[in-house]
């Protein structure tokens, strides 16, 4: 590294362009992987383990998630960045609290949705992907789902941007729609990488569809379409309740909330 100047370089347009490119490449990698898996319909993984499709699914989704993180992270303001570790721990901790209620869902995206509502789709996508990567230090099986988690964060941010978190009853509707998309995208990972699901309840649903003669991918997709929309509807509702419970001076600190009027109501600073 040569010594050029002792002053800090101005953040150039070239760096911004590079980051934009990384974001686009990341999104393209995830989309292309999914389209490949759907079009190629890797005939039936049950006739041989379909190792090539597994490698494509794993590689394409992980690469996409990493590119998204590299592209988005440097653009986030520090106030948003410090929230990401909090969101990651919330994903784990709140998931455990909800686990004690005995309901048959995962609830592992509450922190991600919370960040997406406060800081927008890009921050939500980065948080989702990072959540899977950091969580894999404790539980490696969540790592392959990084792209699905990024998609959930992105869609939650888009829902917040277009005002679906202004009314409490709209948030679960947005969650339900997000769950459908996220379930369809995550099902190939569960099928190709793990050959099934690890939950007892979800496993029973997959078994039922298999007993009716479905292929493994079809059975897991149908199971995802049953569990995921319900799960995400509840997660979005919980995130909405948490955001409403926060004091306004905390939520209006976020430029995204002010700019798109994410939560109906006035900025306390502007009102006084």
């Amino acid at each position: 590294m040569s010594q050029q100047s002792l002053t800090l370089p101005a953040p150039g347009a070239a760096a911004d362009k590079k980051r934009r490119l990384l974001e686009l490449l990341g999104a393209a990698s995830i989309a292309a992987t999914f389209i490949f898996l759907v079009l190629a319909q890797p005939a039936d993984i049950t006739n041989g383990v379909g190792s090539a499709s597994t490698l494509v699914a794993l590689g394409g989704f992980l690469l996409g998630a990493i590119l998204l993180i590299l592209g988005v992270l440097p653009t986030l303001p520090t106030s948003t960045l410090v929230l990401i570790p909090v969101a990651l721990v919330l994903n784990i901790a709140l998931g455990q609290i909800m686990g004690t209620t005995g309901l048959p869902f995962y609830f592992d995206a509450i922190g991600t949705v919370l960040i997406a509502v406060l800081a927008g789709p890009a921050a939500g996508a980065a948080t989702g992907a990072l959540s899977s990567i950091v969580w894999s230090f404790f539980n490696p099986t969540v790592l392959p789902f990084a792209a699905g988690a990024a998609l959930i964060g992105f869609l939650a941010g888009m829902a917040a941007r277009y005002g679906l978190f202004r009314r409490f009853y709209l948030a679960p509707v947005a969650g339900f729609a997000t769950g459908i998309i996220a379930g369809v995208v995550s099902a190939p990972i569960a099928a190709f990488v793990f050959g099934g699901t690890s939950g007892a309840g979800t496993g029973a649903i997959v078994s039922a569809f298999r007993a009716m003669g479905d292929t493994l991918l079809a059975a897991i997709t149908k199971q995802a379409l049953i569990s995921d929309p319900m799960d995400k509807a509840i997660v979005f509702a919980i995130a909405a309740l948490l955001v409403y419970a926060l004091p306004r001076r905390a939520t209006f600190r976020f430029p995204f909330v002010r700019r798109f009027n994410v939560l109906a109501g006035k900025d306390p600073a502007a009102a006084s």
Partner: protein, 260 residues
């Protein structure tokens, strides 16, 4: 011994082991990788923790795989036993074994990595490798915050239980109790995060430009060569497998045998 290696070396070795296991997709290879992890973990003295952490993940997975594929495998031809729609087939059991051993090997590899790696060293290495510093911050901060937040949560719960909060009861009561714990937790966390943002900004965290690190992480020419070799081997295995299934090139049997 493992924890004294450069974190990039253990990371590269773990990544390569997973790529090879996935590319081979062959249960003897998976078992060999798992055995290698067990041997390395015993050498590093973390075997008990790796096994405990992996049991929590792998037991439900194996149970689910065995029930799902062991009983319901419509593609199966050789039926060992059957009760109505549920049939135990040889193909189903073989598929469960294949998938289960493959996932077991990968989970063991990654858990061994996370137990032997020194996170501070890993973050320091990332800083010098042009990975955005924000990534290192999020990684290190989450791993240190997790126990602190668990503590905070249990303090909130104890305080509320001292005031008469009942955690059991009907579904509505349990949801209400969960809300009573979550709202103060989230509120406190967001407040603290804002303070941390000021502290980081005051130290110029968000300004661009090159960074250096105080932490010196040992590296050697041997480790650099090893990293290149294992990553090259993993890439070759992946390419070979893709070629084999798309263009019908036969996979050399020696490849799947020689990587454990």
């Amino acid at each position: 011994m493992l924890s004294r290696l450069n974190p990039l070396t253990t990371l590269a070795a773990s990544g390569a082991a997973i790529a090879l296991t996935m590319a081979a997709s062959n249960w003897p290879v998976s078992v060999a990788v798992a055995a290698a992890v067990l041997a390395a973990g015993t050498g590093a003295g973390v075997m008990r923790r790796v096994l405990a952490a992996s049991a929590v993940i792998l037991l439900p997975l194996w149970f689910s795989l065995l029930v799902l594929h062991g009983l319901f495998f419509p593609e199966g031809r050789i039926v060992l036993a059957g009760w109505g729609p549920a049939r135990i087939t040889v193909e189903g059991l073989a598929f469960a074994l294949e998938m289960g051993t493959r996932t077991t090997a990968c989970v063991l590899v990654l858990l061994l990595f996370s137990f032997v790696v020194n996170v501070a060293d890993l973050v320091a290495m990332m800083t010098t490798r042009r990975i955005p510093p924000q990534f290192g911050y999020v990684l290190a901060s989450t791993l240190t915050l997790a126990p602190a937040i668990t503590d905070q949560l249990s303090r909130i719960r104890q305080a509320q239980e001292a005031r008469g909060l009942v955690l059991g009861g009907s579904l509505l009561q349990r949801v209400a109790a969960a809300r009573l714990q979550m709202v103060p937790l989230v509120l406190a966390l967001i407040q603290e995060a804002a303070e941390r943002a000021h502290a980081l900004d005051a130290r110029g965290f968000s300004s661009p430009g090159p960074r250096s690190t105080y932490r010196e992480v040992a590296d050697s020419r041997g480790q650099r060569t090893f990293r290149r070799a294992v990553l090259g081997l993993a890439a070759a295995a992946v390419i070979l497998r893709l070629c084999a299934s798309w263009f019908g090139v036969p996979v050399l049997p020696s490849l799947s045998a020689g990587n454990a």
